[in-house]
Symmetry: C2
Subunit: 326 residues, 2 copies
DNA sequence: CTGTTAGCGCCTTCAC
DNA sequence: GTGAAGGCGCTAACAG
């Protein structure tokens, strides 16, 4: 019932090796026999079995993609970038959510190994020794995507978050802000956010500066905390670690009777679609999210195809997009 | 270098068949030998090769997920639901974006076939004969997720979009609206949207009612079209086919000097996170997005495990959540 | 340019 | 309860 390469060979009156050759273009085949093979293939509706192929060739043309949560806009955009480039190079994506939990992440690396993926694209909040070990056990090429590896042990694609933090701070400084707050998730939840904080702090330490930690960094929670915070408003500038937190800040400020940007200028990180769909539109430090995915996937293909790689730690550029919130 | 089941067998001084048995729990093995096998496994750091397993057993424990675009909030949420249940049943997900283009969709069904996925979860705007054929060729169990198959040829999980449309219309009617508009993407782009339109129309046909088509249904485009439209505002109620269009409508109305909900009451479909992150918060016909994914994946597992299925066409419930825009 | 022959790593009858 | 043997469908030398 399932048509195999043997059936095609018989139908075309050639050996299975020849069929394999025309399918894979792995050697020159006489035009005429090639035609016969192709004919037999479409005659029988033959489809090469990728699993068998994977077993024989030891390459599955599959990439494991491990992310904290696809349903986050930031992540979904990245995954889209990954998938587009993967398609371009004829790879497929096995997607898994880790919820950022180390044990789950490590276990996922293990299953990716079992699945014999050709490579892994990995996104996490904090890279730990456990991960490195798991990667080494699995012996699979890995590229980190939008995640920090301060020691540069593993190829990665990211922006310079410290610098981005500093840029955000300078932006507000140049706007004349004197009392700036940084709204971010709790420390330790995201190294990226922590690095941004470092960058901000570097510029603002001898200014009037405060950090507001708002749990996991979700809108609903943040807006509640911030509303209280802003009752007695004494800031004139605010940096948010994400669009979502930026928006929560805008609303919390408005709810406490003040206005954006008149009383408080706001700049947020990310630039997901949210930033342009709200009023006032958010001034942002834009992240190249799609490119995080696309570039990291491209880097991985280079590694898999043994193409020369100039730089295993690629730093993409962020940029400020000025809109209405500042 | 790669550890195989043979290595484990040798180390544990048993046959590979026995190793296979303890791994898969496919037959009773004496406690003592089981212990030895387990020991050998952890000793050698053995990981079963899922590809080989797939070839031998003809089941890959992999589900193909075909969606128009993961980066859409609505879709991402569904994918998350799928993945959670898949994990629960020890399946993995191969994700592919089709951009809603028929040829690409058909070709993806083909690659899923080659990959020997155990099942397919399929989401598309319009189910066509080409799809049905492709499914039949591939001979793979399929469940449609949040997509309409009016002829019920294929198992599916969805809401009753006609009814939801009618509910939205009735809601505004009850609020006293007399001149209602339905904002939706161009006809033919999404059958779902078209069905909603039917539902709305059924309730409003003998009222003052008009349909505003806004291209692909994206915020940026919609707001421009609608701004012109609302210059001469003569409606007092509006139904939007998505949160995004609802928000575009809100802003367009505001831009033309009117206000929501005072001048125009708005109700939108979907209830993505966007709906509660904007001002005014959107009254919505809420879709159970996560459940679309979760339930359809669960249905698929039932089919794969030959569990009894009462209903191959499951209709989830939508509900109205009243907020500030109406 | 084409055919033959080994595997790839595992599951799955069958015997014992 | 355990072992032996035959595939699963294909790739990849190696001959010719």
């Amino acid at each position: 019932m399932t048509v195999t390469i043997y059936d095609v060979a018989r139908e075309a009156k050639v050996s299975m090796a020849t069929v394999s050759r025309v399918i894979n273009g792995t050697a020159v085949v006489k035009d005429d026999t090639k035609r016969r093979v192709l004919e037999a293939i479409s005659q029988l509706g033959y489809r090469p079995n990728a699993v068998a192929r994977g077993l024989a060739s030891k390459r599955t043309r599959t990439i494991g993609v491990i992310v904290p949560d696809v349903s986050a806009a930031f992540v979904a955009e990245i995954v889209r970038g990954i998938e587009d480039i993967a398609t371009m190079y004829d790879y497929h994506i096995v997607l898994a959510n880790s919820d950022g939990q180390i044990p789950r992440e490590v276990s996922l690396i293990g299953t990716m190994w079992e699945k014999q993926v050709d490579g892994i694209l990995y996104m996490t909040n904090a890279l730990r020794g456990e991960h490195i070990e798991a990667f080494e056990d699995a012996q699979i090429p890995v590229v980190l995507c939008a995640t920090e590896d301060t020691e540069r042990r593993i190829p990665s694609v990211n922006i310079d978050n410290r610098r981005a933090g500093a840029d955000a701070a300078n932006y507000l400084l140049e706007k004349g802000c004197k009392r700036i707050a940084f709204v971010t998730s709790d420390e330790g939840i995201s190294v990226i956010a922590d690095h941004r904080l470092h960058g901000v702090r570097r510029q603002l330490d001898n200014h009037n500066f405060r950090v507001l930690h708002v749990g996991e960094g979700r809108y609903e929670h943040a807006i509640q905390l911030l509303r209280d915070e802003f009752q007695t408003l004494n800031i004139d500038g605010l940096i948010a670690a994400s669009d979502e937190l930026g928006l929560a800040s805008v609303h919390a400020i408005q709810d406490s009777g003040h206005s954006v940007p008149e009383d408080v200028r706001i700049i947020a990180f990310d630039n997901t679609r949210l930033a342009t769909m709200v009023r006032p539109e958010l001034t942002v430090i834009a992240q190249p999210m799609y490119d995080f995915g696309a570039v990291s996937m491209r880097l991985l293909t280079k590694m898999l195809l043994d193409e020369p790689v100039e730089n295993y730690t690629v730093t993409l550029l962020h940029n400020i997009i000025e809109r209405k919130s500042s």
